[in-house]
Symmetry: C2
Subunit: 366 residues, 2 copies
């Protein structure tokens, strides 16, 4: 049984080299740049490594080469569905590559982010993925000074540290409100939780749209710093309704809140969209399945993570993308919950997951 664990299971590069009849350095090169070897030695080293079951010692490699093959990822939350999709993309892209992902959770604190950044940078990561564009000055300076590629994800904005991939939350919110306007809604409330920078910008988009239409009223906005949840959606909507009982639509900063609003409407026997239209944000899977189906702004989260990691790896290996800032855009997915205003209060009946009309927009930033 304990066959290969003779001493401590250690098969070193030297052993492989010896079996292959080459010098250790040649064997080393095989693992880093096989092209540099002659075909004969390449196959010899390869079979020797396989025979011995050689696995490189990453610590030794990192020490000798002064760099690691770790990609640091800083995200603000592990709970949020949004980030789990992004993460899945990142992990998928990193799989099969030589790089491993080191994940840390900033808990929506830019101070915590700064601390983690310092920690990460000290280990000389191969690359870094950070969330958003709102870092502390100190963090920004560290990122600026870091000698590894960096991707900022989730949104785009001015002054990328390096690469950037996301979309404009501001424009996306404006598109959502525009859709509600088109459907004849005027008194549109906003419900937001957590109020991290991206939610803030969605709110800004809402506010500016409403102001443009001379429909803005501070009383239409209900927000809280509390982390989001379905239950919270109901509670915030309740507040909104207490203040402004005659609203005809609610734009929710995310889909959990939207679902909470929907349930609250059901509880109060408010017809959706007959009396109140609902629009969410992110287009999580359940939105297409709810009754009525819920309109939302689709964001390409998985793709964002995957592309970010792919771009980063490319950049690490010296192939910088020609386009360092990538706008993945968004789409307003129109569903039953926001269909045109109607006088009768019966909700529209239609097949679940009915083909969705989509408004696709690249987020134009100026």
């Amino acid at each position: 049984m304990g066959r290969k664990r003779t001493k401590s299971g250690k098969i070193r590069l030297a052993e492989v080299a010896e079996l292959a009849g080459v010098s250790p350095i040649t064997a080393s090169r095989f693992f880093r740049n096989p092209e540099a070897l002659s075909v004969a030695k390449r196959t010899r080293v390869e079979s020797a490594a396989k025979e011995l079951g050689y696995v490189p010692n990453l610590a030794a490699r990192a020490l000798a080469s002064q760099r690691t093959e770790v990609i640091g990822v800083l995200i603000p939350s592990l709970t949020n569905n949004v980030f789990s999709d992004v993460l899945r993309g990142i992990y998928d892209a990193s799989e099969g590559s030589r790089y491993s992902i080191q994940l840390s959770n900033t808990r929506y604190s830019i101070l915590q982010e700064e601390k983690l950044l310092r920690l990460f940078l000290a280990q000389k990561p191969a690359g870094l993925i950070v969330t958003g564009i709102d870092q502390t000055a100190e963090s920004r300076a560290m990122l600026q000074a870091a000698d590894c590629p960096i991707v900022q994800i989730m949104e785009i904005g001015p002054d990328p540290v390096d690469m950037m991939i996301g979309f404009s939350h501001y424009d996306a919110a404006r598109a959502a409100v525009a859709h509600l306007f088109e459907q004849g809604h005027r008194k549109i409330g906003f419900v937001g939780a957590r109020m991290d920078p991206r939610v803030q910008r969605r709110m800004d988009g809402y506010v500016s749209s409403m102001k443009d239409a001379a429909l803005f009223d501070q009383r239409l906005v209900v927000t809280t710093a509390t982390p989001t949840s379905v239950t919270l959606g109901g509670a915030l909507f309740t507040d909104l309704l207490a203040r402004e009982p005659d609203i005809d639509a609610v734009f929710c900063a995310n889909d959990d809140l939207a679902l909470g609003v929907l349930f609250e409407c059901r509880r109060r026997e408010i017809a959706v969209p007959g009396q109140i239209a609902i629009v969410g944000f992110n287009d999580l899977e359940f939105m297409a399945s709810a009754v009525p189906t819920l309109t939302s702004v689709r964001t390409n989260r998985y793709e964002m993570g995957k592309t970010a990691a792919t771009m980063l790896i490319e950049a690490i290996e010296g192939r910088r993308p020609e386009q360092p800032v990538l706008d993945l855009g968004f789409k307003v997915i129109e569903r039953q919950s926001s269909s045109a205003r109607r006088s009768d209060s019966r909700p529209a009946v239609s097949g679940a997951g009915a083909a969705n009309k989509m408004i696709a927009l690249p987020s134009s930033h100026d």
Copy 2:
């Protein structure tokens, strides 16, 4: 500004030692076992390190000490809410400790798990957290031979490799079905997706309960290997209904499916719980907020992750828990969706559930 980045930001232990006026090895000891130093040297090294902004080189440490401070975590999915809760617990527990988390996704494949395990073990992790009790024989042998503490999470079963923390999915399912029996339901369907080992055991629990009551019928079971989703819940329920139109309850293998079933009922104007009762599994946050509120089996996911990581770290540091197998149990949270069967089809008004307003349950639209 750029003060300490003289060469390439490298402040070595030797520099710290020099400034503190001690030998490098003494400085080294300070970071690993401060108690071993005299108070005088301790403070000297401490302030020297702080002044220079010293950050240890983990690669060098790992190489010299022949072990890493990495805790490997193998989970089957990043998408599933269930695991994000567990992960959050793990990360929370690891924070503040010296250990960092290395996460890998097995995608519900035990072969992939075996591959990842081999990779992890080669790096001599400080500890390992693996999901479930269904490893390949080869994986099990590797785990058995590994010289680091290991925790199996998510469920408990016989023959722990080392430590184990979870609950019995089989018993939890039996409790859910027992609850439905108590409420007067007899023709209870089962809806399951993905059918990973834990879902399988929930199904086994359901089947055995139904057989015990002489109520089992294969036609009451609808499952698929497809990954779970809300939409899928609706689709599976549709299948079930087509087969057995007169069921009076559905036990769903998870909450997403349950929500899908609820929406499908709404679409079909089937009263819940008047005509059909629904019970989910996991008790995700939205269950308490749905209309009607949805009964579910609460599982302590966050706690599971947190406790697993805490136990693991304790074990790594030589303090093995007296109780290596920990059953965290479960709880059937009874809500409106499964309240007692009644002859009229109007659902009950009840104060049970979490968001306890007295709310009139919706009747079907008429």
